[in-house]
Structures are given as structure tokens and as C-alpha cells.
Amino acid sequence: MVQSEKSCCGNAAREPAAACCCSGTSGPIPAPAIRTTNSVITGKDRWDHFLARWGVNRMGRIVLPGLHRIGNPTNDSPVFASANYTLSFDALRSALAGIDAWILVLDTKGINVWCAAGKGTFGTDELVRRIQVTGLFKVVSHRRIILPLLGAPGVSAHEVTRRSGFSVEYGPVRARDLPAYLTTYTATTEMRTVRFPLADRLVLCPMELVHALLPMIAVAVVLYFLAGPVAGLSAVAAVLAGTVLFPALLPVIPTHDFSTKGFLLGAIVAIPFAAAFARAPGLSGISQIIAVLVPFLIIPAVVAYLALNFTGSTTFTSRTGVKKEIFRYVPAMALTASAGTILGIVLGILRLMGMA
């Protein structure tokens, strides 16, 4: 630490352009606080990343905004911008092993770079403000700042240059490509392209599952008591198919739309349950047909809905397309799921009345 005073406030008071709620505080004006970090990812960090992937205490994963030094940077060392979300910041600092640099952490409210850029919090205003608040122009002699490529949706490079004097360079998508990028200060087409490989998809599954966990357990318990263990299991299977199997199989499921992919996957998952219900004792005629129809009506609708909700986690869906999907398929999902539920209730009544 350069100063024991860690607040940005005093510094902000010296920079009239930077609006800050505590700029009115009196007292001596401290120099900008620069924190020291390193490139080591400890076991505790890894545990922390694991918990973050499960959605545990996500807002506890905030890095302090401002300037951080890594290694022994001089006034000539490169400056990298990052978000104040632990996973973003840790990806950057671990990629900078053996490199002396400055890291300018923007206040993105604990949200990762790409999502924050989409929202505008990783944006032109915050970048310009953070450059001024930290007094970056006194820390480094050059006027160049390297941004993660996925920060570009929120930042207007020419606007930043006009307002702060710093030129913006967009680096690679992935922090791990930074050492290669730094040899020429040029991002290759490969470094600039976002992908969505199996590992990147699987790491999102816990979060998808956590979102659907409570309703899944509730429905499974209710079905268990009303219709038996196989029916209870079908609820678990539908949710696992939508939140784990679907992300894993995304590129290999035929059709282009997420909803139709989900309907397809759900229909396959429904087959064993329909077979099991068809063989249930005491069913005949119409009630047997209903028992086969119910899983085929409900499970594909549930998987398709969960599949559609995965769009926000992917790296390539446009809003225009997702909106089209919602209007095109959500009514069909609601309709088939309702029809299946009503038929299931009819089947239950038939059995209660001893007619099945």
C-alpha cells in the first residue's frame, strides 16, 4: 500500500470530473491508493471459484476497484483493465505470471466483464472515471490501456481517448492468451474469437441446476406421493436433462433453435418413462394411452423451457433470435405442459374411482 488511506474519496475531491458521494470530506488529500496483488491462485482461491460456480455468496466475490500492481511495474509497464468480479480478476492476474503490470479494476458491481459490458457498467464512463480517480496519468508515462476484448460492447474506444487521453487497445478474449499477445501487442483472429467448448459449457451447469433445484425437489416429492417413485424420478430426469445434458450436448443436438433442441432431447428422455407407465399394473385401454401421453407432453416442454433459458449463458445468441424463440415456442410449451398436467389429473381421478 502506498497510503494507509484506502478510500478513493479524497482523491476524487482533487479530480472535479469524478463525481463521488464522499468528495465533500475534509482533511489532507491522500495520494491514490495502489494495492499489490500477485499471479498465484491458491487452494482457497480455487475453492472460492468453485463456490462461485454454484452461486454461493456471489456478491461476496468483489475485488476492490482501483489500481493494483502485479510484479514490479514501472511507469512504462502495460495497464490492463478488468472487472471487480473475482473470477475475472483472478483470470487476469494468473495469466500475468512473470509480467510486471498495472491492473485497473473498474467498479462493475461484482459482475464479470462481458455481462457488465452488456449492461454498460464496464463502460466508457466508468473507465474514464477510474482513470481519473486513480491518477493513472501520473502513475504511467505512456497513454495506453489494454482492455479485454469482451469489454468492447460497453466501451467506445474513441470516446475514451477523447475524454481521458488514453488510447484503448482491445486484447484477446481469454486472459490466458495475454503472454502471446504481449509479444507483438496484436491479437490474432484466433485470440479475438469467442468459443463455447464443452468445458466452458459444463462449468455453467451447476448454476443452471441451482436455479431449477427447488421447484424440481418440490415437484418430485409431490409426484412421488401422488403417482409413485417413477413419476418422482421423471421430474428429476427432466430438470437434469435441461440443465446438465442440454448444455453438454448443445452443438450435437440437431435443429438450430434452443427450444426445438430441448423438445427433441425431452422427447428422448420421456421414452423410458412412457414405457414404464404403460406397464403399470391395472391400466388398460384409454387410461394406458393417457399414461403414455403424459410424459411425452410434459417432459419435452420442461426440457425445452430450461434449454431456452440457457440462451443467456451462451456466447452467441442474439436478442432478436431469442425474442423470436420466446414468441414462437413458449406458448407451445405452456400448452403441452398444461395438457399433460390435466391428463395426469384425469388419470389420477380415473384410478381413484376404480375405473382404470
Binding site: G154, N309, F316, T320
Partner: protein, 116 residues
């Protein structure tokens, strides 16, 4: 079979292009490629409407209605009776696909004071 992603709102006006190549640098899906005198729109269907090209084009040669293609956020907004186009649940109080709750901060000072 339907392809909901066949069209998007990306518009390119090549006559305004000053060939600065920013769009080719910021697009994560190689939608634009470097051309001889101006950028070339080579894969318009791959556009995810993130808005990076339009925002970084100093000549306003690109227009796109940028937004996040997130059904979670849009369905949530529609159910709450809010505008599907402007709502983003990320960081909203109900938790979301990419953020979770956000403490209301008008200024970074509050955060920094909590530094142990």
C-alpha cells in the same frame, strides 16, 4: 425447421466506413473482415447483437439494436409486466444467470471503506 437466428438488427453502411478496422478487432464472431478500402461484412448471420462494433465505430457506419440474448431476463421482464427490450435481470434483486444480487452503490467509496 425454424431458425429464429437467421435475421438480426445489424446494419452496415459501407459508404461511411473509414477503414479504421476497429469493428474487425472487437467482433468476437468474425462478422466483419478487413477489406482493401473498407471493412467487409462477411458473416452477418453470426452477429449476436452485442453492439461492440457500433459502439467502437468512430464513423457511425454500423448500427445494431444491441442487447443481451437472454430468455431468462426477457421472460422474467415479461412476467413482471416490464419491457422485454430494456430489462436485464443480471444484477437484479431476483438473482440471475450472470450476476446475482447487487448491493446498491452510488459510489465506490462505500465498497472501499469495507476493506479490512
Amino acid at each position: 425447421m425454424f431458425d429464429s437466428y437467421a435475421e438480426n438488427t445489424l446494419q452496415y453502411f459501407p459508404e461511411k466506413c473509414i477503414n479504421c478496422r476497429r469493428c474487425t478487432q472487437v467482433c468476437p464472431h468474425r462478422v466483419f473482415a478487413e477489406g482493401k478500402d473498407r471493412a467487409e461484412l462477411v458473416h452477418p448471420r453470426d452477429c449476436m447483437e452485442c453492439g461492440a462494433c457500433a459502439k467502437n465505430c468512430p464513423a457511425q457506419a454500423i448500427e445494431v439494436q444491441s442487447g443481451v440474448g437472454c430468455a431468462w431476463a426477457m421472460i422474467g421482464a415479461a412476467l413482471r409486466g416490464k419491457d422485454m427490450d430494456t430489462e436485464c435481470s443480471c444484477g437484479g434483486p431476483e438473482g440471475s444467470c450472470c450476476g446475482g444480487e447487487t448491493p446498491e452503490e452510488t459510489c465506490s467509496c462505500g465498497t472501499e471503506k469495507r476493506d479490512p
